[in-house]
Symmetry: C2
Subunit: 197 residues, 2 copies
């Protein structure tokens, strides 16, 4: 029965349970080569919930500092990532999530502007507001799909931003609404962050 509906066929094959399992396997693989991660690190890599909410409950209400906020025309790579046309308008934002003077997570986001309503757009561009908080403010129903998790070499900018030389735990994921990518996000934090109870 289930396979007669193409929408369900797609979801069973490409997403849902199987994709979840893949990300769990990827995390387990990383742990094999790099040693065990801490619980909070693993949750931050795997969760399909708001990262802002998790940081809020661990550190008290967090803030973001916007490092880059600009509009771009999608090149081929970005068009493919977001399933839009080349030259479509995209919002590119880089932020540091932090609690007071304690940096927490670095996040890059791409958002196709055509998929945003005006209120969301204004908060995104002008308000230094975490995306998780914007989604809640407007009661947006969505789902999140983690695409990749990885350990990456750090770089001079992030060494300075985080005050840490440690390599980075990273992931990228889509926030999907109306079956379209509303937001593509890549998050990173040093391996020696979130390493306490």
């Amino acid at each position: 029965m289930i396979y007669q509906n193409p929408k369900y066929l797609k979801s069973v094959n490409m997403n849902g349970k199987e994709k979840d399992t893949n990300i769990l396997n990827e995390i387990a693989k990383l742990e094999k080569t790099h040693g065990k991660f801490f619980n909070t690190q693993k949750i931050l890599l795997a969760t399909d919930g708001s990262v802002t909410t998790i940081l809020d409950v661990l550190h008290g209400k967090i803030s973001i500092k916007t490092l880059v906020q600009e509009f771009e025309k999608a090149d081929e790579k970005l068009a493919k990532l977001l399933n839009i046309k080349v030259n479509d308008d995209v919002n590119y934002r880089v932020v540091l999530m932090h609690k007071d003077d304690k940096p927490l997570i670095h996040a890059i986001s791409y958002i196709p502007l055509d998929r945003l309503d005006d209120n969301f757009k204004r908060d995104l561009i002008m308000a230094d507001m975490p995306i998780g908080r914007i989604l809640r403010k407007y009661n947006i129903e969505s789902r999140r799909e983690v695409n990749n998790v990885a350990i990456e070499k750090t770089n001079n900018d992030l060494i300075e931003l985080f005050d840490s030389n440690a390599d980075l735990l990273t992931r990228d994921y889509n926030i999907i609404r109306n079956d379209e990518v509303l937001i593509w996000i890549k998050e990173a934090f040093p391996l020696d962050y979130f390493s306490k109870q």
Copy 2:
């Protein structure tokens, strides 16, 4: 501008940022009287993501044991909780989320049957599948709103189920789709669970 749209008026006033802050305040209040919680405990109380996914990444892919699965006619209290009519059909399910022989979280759910499609209903009733996994399987876009967090006295059933005399950390929340309550869930675990890194 924002206040001219009644939908946004409602969301800004009643939900989103303010409601989030309330739950964080409630958790902070509980910590004042009962001592600090562990990070994983706080995340499990506050997250708006899938609890199944969090347990999967911490323990390896978890399972559920269905303790009760039955249909009820909504009484006044339940009708109010779910915003349905008295006597509407509701699915009532009680499960224990566990990894092998290790119990993890006890969960009660109420779901108005009219709001489910047949595939979801079948998996819910027949498949011993966690709700978070059903939502992903069918790519359901939704949002979660935590209503309450509390510490509650345990009882004989749960002492036996969890093999722990500790009081319980509990929360209840709605999973909302199409601006309606799709699922009401109450989760509970002993205060001495999730207390390691």
